[in-house]
Symmetry: C2
Subunit: 416 residues, 2 copies
């Protein structure tokens, strides 16, 4: 099937899955979890094939060891992956929620109701657990999805999706073609052009993948390219708190997008030398180089800069940051409020580690990704980010002429 036909069938599937009952979706998710568990040996075998091929590439220096590690499915990852599906099944249904019920006039009632977006295009790198996670999120939110995984995990991805789809085939009333997979670079190019059928692209991968996608499509893209997070140590910061938060934000998981990259220190902070000394005793590698101010290190390197005060800190962050997550450490509530209002980022923190920027930590139950967009969804995105809404208006022969001519008046009474 060529891409256009895949996309077209995804669109049909999206229209069909849009209003299936929540119970059917949850049943499907529990069945998928069970079948993946029953067939996990098959998945491990497919993963072994991928790992063997990848091992050669690592030896040739064509694949990084970290990509290889992400590719590997073990019993723990498999258990988490399956548990993740069951967790999504247990969440509240994100569609068909009444967001507004307003009586416009007698017998003329407006309902704003959450509904799926339609067709999602997901492009991800070598992490085979993404395929079951995104499939589950799509089912739960009644969206159809076209998946394009990394070529390194092709056998694992094929096996997992084939188990999921044969499970869905057996469920009465569950539409066909909700979950489809493509494999080639040409398919990616087609996907990015296919704004007729695809409503949202979600890239799951590194900076260069996301940048490439954002630059090559007119379809809305949900995600972030960079995670250049800052911590500003204000004049009145508590030294011990600053040390504790910065070490956490930099070293707890240095390659995470919400890890801190640059520390800004108020020039009048009295404990500056003690702070730097304490950080130097940790794993952190401090550097003082303006060339790195718009750079995501992804390791334990931390840039630092002395600033004249809060205003310069805010300006620096709005200039060099990526609008992801930035934190102030201070005893001044006034400064904290100004920082949180003026810093134009998805997350603005006060005396807390930037590493909290995460859908699970925010209590969303599932995470689609973290967005630095200024429209639709921003910050950690839960299932709600895969929905939009429609307006249902129920009348009894109502016409606009009556209201324009004044024989009738709107009374706009909210019922919820």
């Amino acid at each position: 099937m060529d891409f256009e036909n895949i996309a077209k069938s995804a669109k049909s599937a999206a229209l069909e899955i849009a209003d299936i009952p929540a119970e059917l979706k949850n049943q499907a998710l529990f069945e998928i979890a069970k079948e993946l568990e029953n067939n996990k040996q098959e998945i491990f075998e497919a993963n072994k094939k991928d790992l063997e091929a990848a091992e050669k590439l690592v030896e040739l220096g064509e694949l990084s060891q970290s990509t290889f590690n992400r590719l590997k499915l073990d019993e723990n990852k498999m258990r988490d992956m399956i548990q993740g599906i069951r967790d999504i099944a247990k969440l509240e249904d994100p569609v068909n929620k009444k967001l507004l019920v307003r009586e416009l006039d007698t017998d003329l009632t407006l309902y704003k109701v959450s509904c799926p977006i339609g067709v999602l295009g997901i492009i991800f790198e070598a992490r085979p657990d993404v395929i079951s996670q995104i499939s589950s999120l799509a089912i739960k939110s009644s969206n159809a999805v076209i998946l394009k995984g990394g070529k390194e995990s092709v056998n694992t991805n094929k096996t997992i999706l084939s188990i999921i789809n044969s499970t869905l085939d057996k469920i009465e009333g569950f539409p066909k073609n909700v979950l489809q997979q493509v494999f080639s670079r040409d398919d990616v190019a087609e996907m990015l052009k296919c704004d007729k059928y695809i409503n949202l692209i979600i890239p799951r991968g590194g900076n260069s993948l996301v940048k490439f996608i954002k630059e090559n499509t007119k379809i809305p893209v949900l995600g972030h390219a960079d995670g250049i997070c800052h911590i500003f140590v204000d004049e009145t910061a508590d030294l011990n708190m600053a040390v504790k938060i910065i070490i956490d934000a930099k070293t707890q998981y240095p390659s995470a997008c919400n890890a801190v990259e640059t520390m800004l220190i108020h020039e009048n902070f009295p404990d500056k030398d003690k702070l730097l000394a304490a950080l130097q005793l940790s794993e952190i590698k401090l550097i003082d180089n303006p060339d790195t101010w718009a750079f995501e290190h992804g390791d334990t390197t931390l840039a630092f800069k002395t600033v004249s005060g809060l205003d310069e800190a805010i300006e620096h962050i709005n200039n060099y940051g990526s609008g992801h997550t930035d934190s102030i450490i201070t005893k001044s509530i006034e400064n904290a409020e100004k920082f949180m209002n003026k810093v134009d980022s998805a997350g603005v923190y006060f005396n807390a580690s930037t590493r909290f920027a995460d859908g699970f930590r925010y209590g969303f139950g599932a995470e689609v990704g973290i967005s630095t967009n200024k429209t639709h969804a921003r910050g950690p995105v839960g299932l709600e980010g895969l929905t939009i809404y429609k307006y249902k208006l129920i009348g009894n022969g109502h016409i606009v002429k009556d209201y324009v001519e004044g024989t009738k008046q709107f009374h706009h009474k909210d019922l919820i």
Copy 2:
């Protein structure tokens, strides 16, 4: 000033206006209304210049009479324009609303707070009332804006914006460069490329303007190109209700985007001949031509088609419609529900005219436009569509390590 500098200064202005008090914004709006009133003669004179130039173009056949009419500002339009500004001032502040307050753990509280999007690019055709309306909406929602109006209304636009901006200059604490205007086609081209500084483009104008913009930018665009609305007359429709609704939806304002373009009739509807006869007695011009199924007539022409039933009607609408507003006329609640769930449009109506699709009629108090997008905002968009949100997290030295290692647990308690 070249476009890049205009956009850069708009970005700075956006960061400044983001957190000014609601009172200051409302004061600005009331002052603007007063100053426009005080200086209306100056505006009428500028408008006269535009009208004189336009008149010549109409004579040469280079400008339509309807564009000329839209260009003309009279006492009534001026009064409505000024009243519109005062109405916006009286609306609830759309920013700084707490959308979620969640205690993640003791002393660690997450706030999801509405905030402005940033810089809006507005491209509109010859309607000088748009400039004061969009300026007011931008101020109210704390966004900066770059306006590009139609060349036919350049004198009127310049005069109105200059009165608005000199009013703002006199208001202490109101940031500079919140409202800027550009004039050339080159500026439009620059605006569409300027995704570094501009966060949202809103086109206000005809189909070809909107299509051009959507095809030539990667910045999110809020709006709709087509308004191909349908009414499906089901088997059990009430004849009189059908006649009344269809005449309203087609003739009350035929060039509106929410006017009906195609009527679908159930083949077993017993009163089909009576319905067609009644419509023929009205101003409506019925046509039966498949070539017009994806066409917005903009006049009293109404295409019609007989369909085998609800399923074909839904399929037709999802194929040929523009996802704007579609209505079913029926006595069957079951069919109405299926129609409203399966038709993938911003507005899905049951026994009501499609002409209700409008921000004022929905009770939003102001309308930014009507969106057929599947992300961010859909249907009639009020001030809320000019906002997004940010997450504020207030801790007391909290670090993620404690939660990863299990020495602390999230309790995720919603406080509102």
